[in-house]
């Protein structure tokens, strides 16, 4: 989401133009983060629709024979890790706003770790599901959900990791000045990216709550 300022040579600009470009850039990150959420909402909505469509159709009484359920221990583990990521993102963001980059980085690395654990659990869960993928409507939608969740976890963990890696290099580029305090465009871009990411993580935590309830609790 930071792919806007330093990626190409720029024409010479007046200070007003530079400010205009910077505001447009920050605005792009802000609105890009929100639009990304909208995209993801429709993606998740298609899964939710499929779940309830097959559930209400119950073709051949094969929506969910014997109320078979995916392993709830894995489900709780994955869900907890995603919630932890979300919490760490919000905690880190609040610390960052108060000027502590280090706290944000620690929270961020915990989030990356949680994301990787969730990813590993999500993949490993395939070995433990007590049903064949095509054995029922529930089984099919569960496999679809798992694959989509793997994609989601890769995206969020990648986003968080790249933001963290950027924060280290940025400090060097800013000559030791904290990215929180600097008014340099890279620092502003970094902060906007973190804000957009945190917002997205909040959305993912909410969506995961709904999906967890659908697939493991209902």
């Amino acid at each position: 989401m930071t792919d806007t300022i330093k990626n190409s040579d720029r024409p010479s600009s007046t200070p007003e133009e530079q400010e205009f470009e910077l505001r447009a850039h920050i605005g792009s990150i802000w609105s890009g983060g929100r639009l990304f959420i909208a995209m993801y909402t429709f993606l998740d909505a298609s899964l939710v629709f499929s779940y309830f469509y097959l559930r209400s159709s119950n073709n051949g009484l094969l929506w969910r024979p014997n109320h078979v359920t995916a392993p709830t221990s894995y489900g709780w583990g994955i869900y907890t890790m995603i919630l932890l990521m979300g919490l760490m993102a919000f905690y880190g963001q609040s610390r960052l706003r108060k000027g502590s980059v280090f706290d944000w980085q620690i929270a961020g690395w915990i989030g990356v770790g949680a994301g990787l654990v969730a990813l590993m659990l999500q993949i490993w869960e395939f070995t433990a599901v007590p049903f064949y993928p095509g054995s029922s409507g529930y089984a099919s939608t569960f496999i679809g959900y798992s694959v989509m969740n793997i994609g989601t976890l890769v995206v969020v963990t990648y986003w968080l990791e790249t933001a963290l890696a950027r924060s280290y290099r940025l400090r060097k580029e800013l000559g030791g000045v904290s990215p929180v305090l600097s008014m340099h465009e890279s620092a502003q871009s970094f902060r906007a990216n973190v804000a957009a990411m945190t917002y997205f993580f909040g959305f993912i935590a909410l969506a995961s709550t709904l999906l967890f309830a659908m697939f493991y609790l209902l």
Binding site: P11, E16, S31, S46, S57, N59, M148, T162, R166, L170
Partner: protein, 654 residues
């Protein structure tokens, strides 16, 4: 924040992030760097690796060993082909560098033809890349259409088998629909939106380039269906035929998913650019109507395409890991595919229509020298169409997959959408009213859009009514209707846009005589091809069937011969393109149509960053023939553009 008309002295960029002077390179140098050749190589190697991996992983599974068809290998081959392609073109350089915290390096600025075969971040280059890309899709799909019409010359003597015929129809439909989603947004949207809103760049240039290279590899993926044996479902991919189909179906599903990623990223970037990068003074009421068309389309691309993506994913899972999303016997439902597909598929119709409306709304004021009639209604109409398009998908299920009691509701919503569409149509009529029209080639194409879309639109209103829909469903009437809207509307509008803007894009004038030949042959033979299909449809000929009743042969022959001549009309376009750009190029005037559009006020060729100074917009660009209208824009050097003159003047700002 505004930019004042008085410009302070220039300053260099921040010393902390020094601006690298781009290295200039020309054709023939730098071939060790990434370009189309390395992308093809990467795709080829990826394909081989994926196939090997799939065989390694899955060939031992009983269902694969028993069927003799390793769909996992087929899928992984295509997946790694795409990854290899993206690695080869350099699309993944930056995402990988970000993992170690690096920001993007300054781009090497390639000159000449070389830049068009690379991962280029200049929206103008991407726009031209898209022109070539969509023409590739269009002519491939067109050749398949010729094959279809050849088969339909005779109901008893066959060129193809029934099986081959349906696969040709399917490939034609899919390629054309994939092309149509990007035919305006890709080439003209990417090229002109920043210029029209006074921006120096796109918001996310890498995402923009990514969208093009994904779109292009999508062509290879969908075309790979043919060597895999094709797919028999038509472009709609209905289950249970989808589930029963061979490995070509994987190409269809994965191809749609990949093109879907390209569509989402293209829409995302353009929407964000329009929202954030409009020049100072470019209020929403001054945004060109073409930009409104692209913005509403981008919104649909971003929101509807994820559903197509997940439908494709579910279909792929059904084919590879044996889930049963669309298999009724195992707890799935074939109607689920219909719902997911059409939830995307009907907004898709407007993804194709809205940019066309935008183009003609932009062009007709230029050739009538009148302000665009009811500008705000045009913009509102586009937003209305975009919103309502999410509430009509069930009319595709009138025959199956819907509770009959729900039909009136979706009949109503479908009829409702004709109201904002009618607004847009009437805006055009209002602009044409009592105008002294200059019948240049782009304007002729615009007039043709109104003619064709009237037929396509009115037949659409008929089709929204349940009784008519049930009667003509699955026949040539429907086929004719959507060709009138998509080809008669969008493709004619695309050519209007091409003839209108190519002089700006290339700096060359298109040959008018050849342009007129192209227009008239295309217009006449389009109508002679597709209008008889309404009659054929009403007489009961079904779609996707390679034979028909003997008494329909004369109608079909008439349609086929017209289709061949329609195909030939595009050769005139190609000849014109070759003649005007390469054989006998003539330099175009700076503003050949005397347009007030901001895009025409830049130098030709357009500078790398579009505008030396970010313009300050002072008016909308439709005040044609209005004496005393305020200046349109201030370009920062004291130059302004007035509505009664399309040239940049040096008058001070009024």
């Amino acid at each position: 924040m505004t930019i004042s008309a008085e410009r302070p002295t220039e300053v260099e960029s921040s010393p902390v992030s020094p601006v690298a002077i781009p290295e200039k390179r020309g054709w023939g140098s730098g071939w060790l760097s990434q370009h189309l050749g390395t992308a093809i190589l990467g795709g080829f190697l990826g394909y081989i690796f994926g196939h090997w991996l799939g065989n390694y992983i899955a060939s031992g599974y009983p269902y694969i060993a028993n069927s003799g068809q390793n769909s996992v290998a087929d899928l992984l081959a295509l997946l790694f082909m795409v990854v290899g392609w993206l690695l080869g073109i350099g699309a993944l350089n930056y995402p990988l560098a970000k993992m170690v915290g690096r920001e993007a390096k300054s781009e090497v600025e390639y000159t000449g033809w070389s830049k068009y075969v690379r991962y280029n971040l200049d929206h103008k280059v991407v726009g031209l890349q898209y022109v070539v890309g969509v023409l590739l899709f269009f002519f491939t799909g067109g050749l398949l259409a010729m094959a279809i019409r050849t088969e339909l010359l005779n109901p008893t003597t066959h060129v193809f088998s029934a099986d081959t015929y349906i696969k040709i129809v399917s490939e034609h439909g899919t390629i054309m629909m994939m092309m149509a989603t990007s035919v305006v947004v890709g080439p003209l949207g990417n090229y002109f939106v920043p210029l029209m809103i006074g921006a120096r760049r796109m918001a996310f240039p890498r995402i923009e380039a990514f969208s093009f290279w994904t779109f292009l590899v999508g062509y290879a993926v969908i075309f790979s269906a043919l060597p895999y044996g094709g797919f028999p479902t038509g472009w709609t991919g209905y289950a249970p035929l989808q589930t029963q189909a061979g490995p070509g179906m994987i190409s269809y599903l994965f191809g749609f998913a990949i093109i879907g990623v390209g569509m989402m990223t293209a829409g995302f970037n353009i929407a964000i650019t329009i929202v954030n990068y409009r020049a100072p003074g470019m209020t929403w009421s001054r945004v060109p109507v073409f930009v409104w068309g692209i913005l509403s389309t981008a919104a649909l691309l971003v929101l509807a395409t994820p559903v197509l993506f997940s439908a494709g994913l579910f279909g792929i899972l059904d084919k590879t890991v044996q889930t049963a999303f669309f298999v009724s016997e195992h707890g799935g439902s074939s109607y689920l595919w219909e719902n997911l597909f059409w939830f995307f598929g009907h907004p898709e119709v407007y993804i194709m229509a809205l940019p066309g409306f935008g183009i003609i709304g932009e062009i007709i004021p230029v050739f009538t020298r009148k302000p665009l009639f009811a500008y705000r209604i045009a913009a509102a109409g586009m937003i209305g169409v975009a919103l309502l398009s999410f509430f009509v998908w069930q009319h595709h299920l009138f025959q199956s997959g819907i509770d009959p009691d729900m039909r009136p509701l979706f009949m109503l919503t479908t009829e409702l959408i004709s109201i904002p569409t009618g607004f847009i149509f009437l805006v055009g009529m209002g602009t044409l009213y009592r105008a002294k029209i200059r019948f240049e080639v782009p304007m002729l194409f615009c007039m043709a859009v109104y003619f064709n879309f009237l037929i396509g639109g009115i037949s659409g209103v008929f089709l929204s009514d349940v009784p008519v829909n049930v009667t003509v469903h699955g026949g040539f009437f429907v086929l004719s209707h959507f060709h009138y809207t998509i080809m008669g509307g969008l493709i004619f509008a695309f050519f209007a846009g091409l003839y209108f803007w190519l002089p700006k894009m290339t700096g060359r004038t298109m040959n008018k005589k050849l342009g007129l030949w192209h227009f008239w042959t295309m217009f006449v033979f389009f109508n002679l091809t597709f209008f008889p299909m309404f009659i054929i449809g009403l007489l009961g000929q079904p779609r996707r069937v390679f034979t028909y009743a003997k008494n329909l042969q004369s109608w079909n022959d008439f349609s086929s011969v017209s289709a061949f001549l329609l195909g030939a009309s595009f050769l005139i376009f190609i000849a014109n393109l070759m003649w005007s750009l390469f054989i006998k190029p003539q330099k175009s005037p700076a503003n050949p149509w005397d347009s007030l559009g901001l895009e025409w006020q830049t130098a030709t060729p357009i500078p790398r960053h579009n505008f030396d100074r970010i313009p300050v917009i002072m008016n909308d660009p439709y005040h044609y023939s209005e004496v005393g209208a305020p200046a349109l824009a201030n370009f920062g050097d004291g130059g302004t553009v007035h509505s009664d003159s399309s040239t940049v003047s040096s008058d001070p700002v009024e």
